[in-house]
Subunit: 193 residues, 4 copies
DNA sequence: CAGTAATCGAGACGGTACGTCGTGTCTTATG
DNA sequence: CATAAGACACGACGTACCGTCTCGATTACTG
């Protein structure tokens, strides 16, 4: 049975990895260049020299493709490691903001797409939001263990405030500067002591 | 000069207020019932018994109409008045969350629309975001004058965190409960003392 | 009673002749310049500095206005007078063709409009076709009385052939040259002897 | 090279002949029933159970579709064959008139459409006018060879008069009776002897 | 000389058709 | 099976005119 399944999975012509890569690359380029909305599935497939069905065979729609396209490039979420909670949070936010200088517009569009499509919202949360949130959570938890924070501090509320603040500014088109990262970090840390 | 302006403004057949109201009412109803995306401009106009042009004469597109439609109903943002900062903020947030139980989905769609249309983002900020933010800002400023807060408290960062937190949960589809309002309020107040 | 009628007819503000003239002039100009189809009622009224209703008060629609506009200028249908039948017919046709060099395109559009509007077809026939046809008929009848034609000649068929021939070439976009006028005239005369 | 052309021509999903036929049939029916003007592109497509784009993929607009629709049914233009010139012409005209009893209104609308669209006028001439004119031309040429006509007869002028006469009556809404066919035929023949 | 009534420019009104666009699915022939 | 190409049904879009209507403001005759 397992063999049959394997056979079934590998029957016929295998999928072309070149097509997959071309689609991801083209999607990223076009969206960066013209904006999410102005780019259609037809454009992406055409530019990638690929049939439209080939795209639908790999992703359910434009949003999912573009999410993967920008995920690949933004994959590197590093734990800022040592230092005080405040320093670590500040570095974390500044890294985040730096990435968003490039990809901010695309990410905003993806959040937008997620608002009318619960399934895609789920994908977006799992692939993009949570991995980044986990890093910040790690920083706080480490600080809590080290006794840097008050014992009755509400870590969850603080994390929500932390991420909310930057989403808020991103979605409202307000600048995400290193200075703001520092102030936000300071404000959050203060609420935990 | 004044006369000329008046004349220019009142020339030709005046706009029909009934049509404006019908459009707002129908837009609100349909979007609440079927969701933003599922409602088309043609549906709204038809249901309102109005030509499509009549709609375009008043708003540039669906987003602007729907924004106005939900603005009217959500216009009542009350200053919660007396009490400690924490109590006032909690009440403010709980009111906000209550309203969003009904209108949350529509508001989410409007934020989404704003992500690809800078002009509409501006409208949205001015008509929806700022008026509400001003209320919270008022609460904090009153508290600061009353000496309830630390002198070096970063009010702006706190406000961003406050609003960011609830936008964050709204857009990510997470529940906005009264409990969360209290915890968030507490966390913010803590960062200001 | 007559007085009453007169009174009823002359009550209220009288129609503005300037508007009528402006509409005719502008209609003629615009249609000559851009073609019948490309010119809308709104354009004509706007260019004439006149309200749209003012136009509808005078004519039922674009076709009727344009017909009148071109009628005024093409009013001069002269009986070519003396000479043999052939000479008279030739001169008649050559005059006709000359006028159509300028107004041909507009006239073609009017015939076109008449095809889907029986009432306008009637107007067109009475105001444009018959007056011109009568001139040709006059030529043939004079010749018949003078004994230039066979007694059993079918004048009606000849007239239909004569006018049909030039409408045919006009509507099919073929040139209406003086040479063709002469050949057509000769052919018709031949059929009458 | 030929192979490449073949490949290019047969690439992708082929056009659906059923759709083409349905569109032609429905166009013919609707125009016959309600008149050209009252029939819209959307009606035709809907009635044919076909997307609007499918229509535009095949024809540039309503006129071209309707022309093809009526061409198919009016394709049978038969050479009346034997008999004297007069008899042959009479039979030719009577056949023509018979067909126009049914299709006259549609044909008139097509001539009308052609007046504002040179490209369509060309199509109309090539697909509709010339094939029919060629039959009449054949009759006259055969007669000329058989010595039935005068040597200096102007065949071209006669043909123009012949067709012009019936277009003239058709477009002016005058009846096309068998009697008129006979009289016209006689008049034309007379001009050639 | 006030009242009455039709006209005027302006422009909004409900409709209807237009031609274009994008979606997700399908159907070819060719790997 | 997958692939490139492209047709398919569907439906929204924003625009253009249509012929009618509703304003406030003239402009003449009437009583």
């Amino acid at each position: 049975m397992g063999a049959e399944k394997e056979a079934a999975a590998s029957m016929g012509r295998p999928r072309d990895d070149m097509a997959t890569e071309a689609l991801l690359r083209v999607a990223r380029d076009l969206v960066t260049r013209h904006g999410y909305r102005a780019v259609s599935i037809q454009m992406i497939a055409a530019e990638a020299g690929v049939g439209r069905q080939t795209l639908y065979r790999r992703w359910p729609g434009k949003a999912d493709l573009v999410l993967d396209a920008f995920l690949a490039s933004a994959a590197a979420v590093e734990d800022p490691g040592l230092g005080s909670v405040g320093e670590a949070l500040t570095r974390y936010l500044q890294d985040l903001f730096k990435n968003l200088e490039r990809d901010g517009p695309a990410i905003r569009s993806l959040v937008a797409s997620a608002q009318e499509d619960p399934q895609f919202l789920d994908s977006f949360r799992q692939k993009f939001v949570w991995p980044r949130a986990a890093v910040a959570a790690g920083i706080l938890q480490r600080a809590a263990k080290a006794g840097e924070l008050a014992e009755d501090a509400d870590l969850e509320a603080a994390l929500t405030a932390l991420h909310g603040a930057f989403w808020y500014r991103l979605l409202l088109g307000e600048p995400l500067t290193p200075e703001f990262a520092a102030r936000l970090s300071a404000s959050i840390v203060r609420s935990l002591r």
